[in-house]
Symmetry: C2
């Protein structure tokens, strides 16, 4: 289904964004992968993103360095303690300390700039329903408001040469469903990093919210997560 | 009129943003000035922003380094030729090559992040009517759509602890009126830099669209612009 259309895909190097990127490719888009080095603890994510982009044969991959930590306010940039060892059913209620203020808005704004330069309006992001209760900037109403703003913000939107659409192909999938979809598309999840606090050698902690949801997603598919964990026998 | 409220003010170090910041102060806001070092040719703007912030006794001033040039597509980041020697009445029609894709959207998104961390919803930007015909992201409809998106994007917006407002106090003022308003508020325009291509020593070129509109604004007030120009006798 090659259409020649271009799409910008946000790629963190995690399980979700890697699957969303695979779906964009499968839909026939030439994918321009966009990653951010934002002073996060998980700098190892950037390496994962590079491996995923190379394996996915994207048209281009750009890593933009931005300093989100300058404003503080998040466990993910080092200002707040990261929750550990929560049960899966405790995650996704309320806004967790891993919330980074305006993160998706900042990421999408860079994607918007690149999309406009590329002459396309299609942007993919791996947001999904598990984040609903947690992150405000993962809800459909937010994405629709973002599209409306984007069409007013840009030369392309004003002149009508592009209409911006934020594609959220995972939005109503569970983690287990996302993994199943990705495996159908040939995604190699051993390349991805979901852990908020991986070791310098790349092992996942197995205790942060992101690890717990990921392991549970693989188990629900009757599979073992192919990435390495510091604690091999977790109960989730 | 001290209210103790905080506001984030985008500060480029130019004439417009400096005036908008002065208006925020005059309205009683404790001002948190936000500047960007975005690989623009006019790195000298950052120094101007620092001088303005110091003189304005802001509560804080943060300079965020971001690379907008990575995507290309603008004369302001070095990819397209910059127009020179246009008449003032030629400027403001159509979208000029100094347009940087999604620039205000990116800038406002960082302002949104900082505002959320500070616990405020007030953001000031020096956009105004001269840019109407030119930059899509300077129009009131864009700012209203941005506010709506911001209230859906953030923990503060969702929880109701802050309602985001993009203040555009210059929106319907001419350059001459902006200057008059700033002088009433005691703004020292000799600290500001508007030129798109200043010399390394800080002299303005006098030929780019920004210089031409600025010189005209001072002349309409019967004043000489206090900044130094490489060409002291321009006809505009």
């Amino acid at each position: 289904m090659e259409t020649g259309r271009k799409a910008v895909a946000l790629l963190s190097g995690g399980l979700d964004s890697t699957t969303a990127l695979a779906i964009a490719s499968q839909q026939g888009f030439a994918v321009y992968a966009l990653s951010f080095d934002y002073g996060q603890r998980a700098v190892i994510e950037i390496e994962a993103a590079r491996h995923v982009a190379a394996r996915s044969r994207v048209a281009d991959h750009v890593v933009v360095r931005i300093d989100l930590g300058v404003f503080g306010g998040s466990a993910l940039t080092g200002d707040l303690p990261m929750p550990r060892g929560r049960r899966a059913d405790e995650i996704g209620h309320g806004i967790p300390p891993s919330y980074v203020p305006a993160r998706n808005t900042i990421f999408l704004s860079f994607a918007l700039a690149w999309a406009e330069v590329l002459g396309t309006g299609d942007i993919f992001i791996g947001a999904h329903i598990l984040d609903f209760g947690g992150y405000p900037d993962c809800r459909p109403a937010y994405f629709r408001a973002y599209e409306r703003m984007a069409n007013l913000a840009t030369k392309a939107g004003v002149e009508g040469s592009a209409s911006f659409e934020i594609h959220t192909p995972l939005i109503d999938l569970s983690k287990a469903q996302i993994i199943r979809r990705g495996l159908e598309l040939g995604v190699d999840y051993s390349l991805t990093v979901s852990c908020y606090t991986p070791s310098p050698g790349g092992e996942a902690c197995g205790e942060c919210d992101s690890c717990i949801l990921r392991v549970k997603g693989f188990r629900e598919n009757g599979l073992e997560d192919p990435v390495r964990y510091r604690k091999p026998r977790m109960t989730v």
